[in-house]
Symmetry: C2
Subunit: 327 residues, 2 copies
DNA sequence: ATGAAAGCGCTAACAC
DNA sequence: GTGTTAGCGCTTTCAT
């Protein structure tokens, strides 16, 4: 609602002086920025894909992403949250760590969506993969092939993804009437070396208790496990079947191509952003209408099983692995 | 310089009110934030590693990184630069695109370090890999094995890394007195599909001109090329030697393990950050001393050749590949 | 050693 | 329609 002439005069001045609006001053005045905070635990291919999902979605809402990495460290997470707060973001997307609950105060009043994992703060909104269900379907795939001694390699049980995947493993065993055997379960730190070590241990058990199949619940541990299998001269899937976690070019190219649980990583990031935005919006409305805060919304994305050639019937039940499903 | 009593009184108040300094207001007042802008062209494992290097270094200087992705798009790059400017960063680390030169005005007066590539703005500071030298050593490795028909798969020559690597390829040929043959050179977009296609083309040439070795100048194109080789039923290194680009778990695990040029990706990111900070500091001093602006500083990091098992003597020269170097 | 005031660049509210 | 003003939270300067 400005006269054409004034409009042109202003636009001219803008061009001549090279005027650029200052986002900081704007945010300060409005008490709210066009930023959104994203705190991830590391910057590896998985997290990069998550971040890309978040960024691409954020762009649609004209939001900038301020990225921090906590490296699972309490100090770094605290610093990240403090810094973020002081930048007045609209909200926060956070991969929680073991320390997040101590930092709850830093999140007070800020819309937060927990991504990939869950901190245990019950009101928190979250977007994650169906860890229980996906692990269950992985292990069920193995029981259906006839495996009864199935080794499981999981993350430390301080992280919700790790407890969920262990739960799914147990569920599947129960479903197949196979007793849970703690000797077949190993815990690592989601990194390659620990998967390597765990697989080495499991495959070195005496022949009568040695697992005929392995479910490895993280991408990097899967790589480690496959390398361990190779070192031992054991053949996949003839001597041992392996279901890995997280799909990638590497999993597809391995010899043999791996059967995996494929996380919808990019979608996870996008969903987190969409969830956050709708949360922010509902909040804005609620503050007008004066509605009470609703409980945390939990989004669960399925992670399908992709059957390739690293799984087959156990070799003591014989039937050579001739009729496998192809990709 | 405050009385102890006042100090305590203030600190108490801080605790009770839950006071948090506002970075925005501070930046506005000081006309400078503790932020640094990082604009990358994509968010894949390579760029994630770059970003991690930048972040880790930035942390030492107590700087936050604001990350943007340009996706090589002129619109997105412009938006990223505009947004960044309005956040008053101390400086900018930028992977330039074909459009960066058009956006030079947006960079006016801001310390900028170009990362990985170079835009051609001569005064710009830059941190990159020694593309010419590394490609030269890759191809020289092949000529020394006895190859004379060496296929080259490069990126489009609009990007400095691509021109540099082609240059190195030519240099190495000249050094071995092998004439440059345009028919042996293919150009892709650094992505897997284009590497696949290029390799398919080169390996389908008539036997008398078909290359006995391939130098593939990007990581993803290398994957594509290896897949193409497999599809054709050609054996590496017996029928064709391949030197790939960028090391990774995938390159190490491929059958056979790949000979590659290993970019010091993380270091590249770190170096960019260090360069930027020293640039900012020298600038601050110069503004006091009134010194003239110095020319752009170019940092060149070496990318060593790692010889594994994907390269050997050409098979028409015979001598079976028995005496290879191991990792 | 402490308090007071001005102003960074912006927007919301109000008067003209 | 257009011009003016106050104030977001901080730092710097100046006065006490």
């Amino acid at each position: 609602m400005v006269a054409q002439e004034t409009r042109d005069r202003v636009l001219d001045a803008v061009r001549q002086t090279g005027y650029r609006p200052n986002a900081l001053a704007r945010s300060l005045r409005q008490q709210e920025s066009r930023n959104l905070g994203l705190v991830i635990t590391d910057l590896n291919p998985f997290h990069a894909t998550l971040a890309k999902g978040v960024q691409d979605a954020a762009e649609q809402y004209d939001l900038n992403v301020i990225l921090f990495t906590s490296d699972e460290s309490e100090r770094k997470e605290r610093r990240a949250l403090e810094t973020l707060r002081s930048h007045m973001p609209q909200g926060l997307i956070l991969i929680p760590t073991a320390h997040t609950r101590e930092h709850q105060a830093l999140l007070q009043g800020l819309p937060v969506v927990e991504l990939d994992r869950v901190s245990g703060i019950s009101e928190a909104h979250s977007v994650q993969v169906d860890n229980v269900g996906s692990a269950r379907s992985a292990v069920q795939h193995l029981t259906e092939l006839g495996h009864r001694r199935i080794g499981g390699i999981f993350g430390h049980q301080t992280v919700s993804t790790a407890t969920g995947r262990l739960q799914g493993y147990k569920d599947a065993l129960r479903g197949a009437a196979i007793p849970f055997d703690p000797a077949l379960v190993q815990f690592g730190d989601y990194r390659e070396a620990s998967g390597h070590e765990a697989a080495l241990h499991l495959l070195s058990l005496p022949a009568n208790v040695r697992p005929t199949a392995l479910f490895v619940s993280s991408h990097e541990m899967t790589v480690g496990a496959v390398l361990a299998v190779r070192e031992l001269g054991v053949r996949i899937p003839h001597d041992v079947s392996v279901v890995g976690f997280d799909d990638s070019r590497l999993m597809q190219i391995l010899e043999p191509p791996m059967t995996v649980i494929a996380q919808p990583t990019y979608d996870l990031g996008q969903a987190a952003c969409h969830t956050l935005v709708s949360l922010v919006r509902r909040r804005a409305e609620a503050s007008v209408a004066g509605t009470a805060t609703e409980p945390g919304k939990k989004v669960l994305l399925p992670a399908p099983l992709i059957v390739r050639h690293s799984t087959g019937p156990p070799c003591d039940v014989t039937t050579p692995p001739s009729l496998e499903l192809s990709t």
